[in-house]
């Protein structure tokens, strides 16, 4: 039984999110991006990560949150996906937190919108909720 796992945490519009630390390849500061007109809205652009081209997905847009305030630069959380590395743009990076399975709860049915599919559940930490992001789902974008 694996009772605990390590989550790499980050902030999005004041909410604390986490993804499995195993899936995170690296965390890097804001990078120059090449925008991609006509791409799905959540695609912020393309980053050259040491010769590898990585698509950056703005998690705020993906989760249907309001856009980041002007001038605030996001951080890149580069995660491994089936289709190579993908960068998730977040507000701020947090600690790696070890969480216990017994503190986990599925999201309430009242949770609606895009978050419904992307938030797998919440870990009840002391005084704070840590939302577990479904990484594989978050990098799946529907092209219009």
């Amino acid at each position: 039984m694996i009772a605990s796992r390590q989550l790499c945490t980050f902030l999005l519009d004041g909410h604390l999110f986490g993804v499995d630390a195993q899936t995170v390849q690296e965390v890097i500061r804001y990078q120059e991006m090449t925008r991609v007109p006509k791409a799905p809205a959540a695609v912020s652009g393309l980053i050259n990560l040491r010769g590898q081209i990585v698509t950056a997905i703005d998690l705020r847009t993906r989760l249907g949150m309001k856009p980041r305030e002007n001038g605030k630069r996001p951080m890149n959380v580069v995660v491994r996906s089936d289709d190579g590395a993908v960068s998730l743009l977040v507000d701020q990076i947090g600690d790696v937190i070890e969480v216990d399975a017994e503190n986990f709860e599925s999201p309430p049915d009242t949770l609606q919108g895009p978050s419904r599919e992307l938030v797998q559940g919440a870990y009840k930490l002391n005084g704070r909720l840590l939302l577990l992001l479904n990484c594989a789902e978050a990098v799946q974008l529907v092209t219009e």
Binding site: V36, K38, P40, V43, L46, I53, V54, T143
Partner: protein, 932 residues
Amino acid sequence: MSFEDAELLKEFVVESQEHLADVENQLLTLESQGDAMDVGLVNKVFRAVHSIKGAAGFMGLETLGGLAHRSEEVLNKLRNKELRPTSLVINTLLRAADQLKALLDQIEASNEMDVTPHIVALEAILAGEEAVSTPEVSANATPENTKYEIGISSEALREFLIESFDNLEQAERDLLALERHPGADDLLNSVFRSIHTIKGSAGFLGYLKAEKLTHAAESVLGSIRSGNFPFDESVGERLFTTIDAVRRILHSIESEGHEGSEVTGELATQIEDFLQEKLSQTTAKGKKKGRSTRKSASTSKPDAAEPTIEASLSVEARRAQPDPEVTVSSAKPTIAQVTAPKMETAQPPEAAPKASSPTRLSPAPTSSSNSSAESSASDSTIRVDVALLDKLMTRVGELVLARNQILQFNSTIDDSALHSAMQRLNLITTELQEGVMKTRMQPIGTVWSKFPRLVRDLATMCEKQVRIEMEGKETELDKTIIEAIKDPLTHLVRNTVDHGIERPEVRAQNGKPTEGCLTLRAYHEGGQVNIEICDDGAGLNLGRIKAKAVEKGLMTLEQVARMADRDVGNLIFLPGFSTAEKVSNVSGRGVGMDVVKTNIEKIGGTVDLQSKPGLGTTIKIKIPLTLAIIPALIITSDSDRYAIPQVNLMELVRLEGEESRTSIEWIQGAPVYRLRGRLLPLVYLRNELGIPKDESKTSEIVNIVVLRADDRQFGLVVDNINDSEEIVVKPLSKQLKNVSVYSGTTIMGDGRVALILDVMGLAQSAHVVTGTKERAVSDSNDRATTNNSNMQTLLVLGVGPNRRFALPIAQVTRLEKLAMDKVERADHQEVVQYRGEILPLIRLTDTLGVEPSNHSGGLMDVVVYSEDDRSVGLVVDQIVDIVETELINTRPTQRVGLTQSAVINGHVTDLLDLPAVIRMVDPSFFQTTLNA
């Protein structure tokens, strides 16, 4: 055990392998030296084997030691000249050395491995029984040989498989040719050789089924060669079946490691029975006839080699014919010629045993000497893992990027030494890139090689006669592209045989030869490869295609009536299209042609179809040489760079000053440019990418990139044209795969990412190419149910923050962008100077009482309406779109200037009554016209 010391063991293995490395060549040299052998060389081999033996004994590796010991003894006899280095002796030693290597490769398990056959063979030599069979024969004797197989290194096995597959293919090709020219002896020989080689290797490796089958096939071929009966269709059929069966066995070996149970020994028996039957038939007819037809029935000199050839030819032949001499004498000199040099060295010692027990043949020496004869060719080539080449290619790609990066620096630094160094780097990189690219090149013949058989089988199935011809087999293509076109090509060939070529009786009626011809042609042209698939069949039935397109709702009658024949032909590439009256199991299900097109477009290629009724169809495929690194034009749009593959590029046009304003004309809202008298439709990249127009600077320069997509040209208007560069193509990530206007990404010299524009996708999204087709597909559903007469093409205008107006495009003369500060006043009216005239302006905001949007300076969109020589400009805030739509949910309005309201693209839109609007402002506008 003494295995404890793993380090020591490892050292021993490495050392022993080094010892053995040279042994092979040394033994071969010895063989070639014959009786004049160099004793020093024997000593070298002896010492190598001896040290292996010593160490093996010390380490408790009994099997290894035992085998080394026996080899050593044989070598000792050689050294003392008690033995001659005959090919049998050398062969046996070579096999033993191979086995030693295999043992070393699996040193931990070596004691459990069975080397008895080798020991037996070596001992036989020691005992002076020169004539015993070589180990591979005794290996055959062991049932199933599972233990023996362990001794085969996986590499040897793989080589055997690759070689055998090649041989099968060769045999198949030759057989096909043989069917056309049944008398061609060289072809027969070639088939025989291929089959024989497989048989030899299979026997050596202990694959009994494969050996038995090939043996049976060989017997049949042998009999034909001896002139016992002629090659005919039934023989071809049998041989093809055999080849297929052997291929299945090989596949089974490849995937499961054993021969599998799918193919049973029955087939071999059947073939043998078939042979008997054939032979008895011919004997009944009288072999004299059979013999006399063979031009070489001359009693050839009874070469020493010949009996053995014949022995391997056909056991059955011998049994069936009471007089074996006949067979021998009828052997063709050409055969002897080809096989004799090998036989002379390899066979003599074996001749005797073979004659005494003809059923037990030893093909192995032939194959081994065969391979040594070919070694001069194989020495200069090696097999390399494709994954390694791919990796190399990626690295070279990175190098090209780095080079580009440095070259950019170079231009900013003025240092001649640096410049020359840079030039060298540039040159070397380019050469390296070309070299690596070449390693991945394969002749297209590798794909084509399976077509003759495919065509033959299909033709038989469809009861047609089809001949296949190939031109430019050696045309080389990148391996990835070869892979990618395999399926599309196969599909096209299938289609051609099934649909394109008529049945013989129909052809005869039309005065064509009964045999149809399918021609595959490949050639390089302008950095691209062209592949053509031509047939001399019936051609496409354009009428039927049209009817089908209408029936399936893919097109309307009117559209079809307007289409050029060439476009009609290309309709078959639409999804779900098939005119085949019946679905055969070959083709006709309507999937396929669209897949062919998509697959070829995926690799940057194009497909075009030309058909002449009654004369045939030609399908032309154009594909790039390689995908990895391509030359591209870099352009800028709104400070973002994009790459356009040079393949699609025709020319660049730059309009400056006055020209930039006047030479772009509008046809009902579509901008065009007259390029040497021909109208070139223009596409604004900004519009296509949804980038807002640059209001800040009114550029005096218009850059037009003339592109070709699907044999149609269009001009792409971009902000800036930068430079031409070699770019390394990287695939689009999954998230962007569906964005049709891009085909890939690349990294520019400064390290930033740039997108590669997909010219085809761009043209499609701008409706430049196949506009009618595209729309036809997407609209087919609603269109099929509605009457077409309500369709209107409307120009949709945005006025004010959220009002939309529309007017029939037919009323629009031109769309213009005019600078706001050019507006002057005359006669209580706003006017602008326009093309040397005074153009009165009508602001829809004023006349219709729409709340104006706070537009700040810059340009304004003007819709110009002309009546005879009088014009008027309608000032709007935005040109939204041109839509072809049917007016639904309409509601009449009471207001002057409007006819009705309708929902267009999800917005409530008022339809303008343009004459009424104009009259509101200038009541005399139309009167003047009438008076004039």
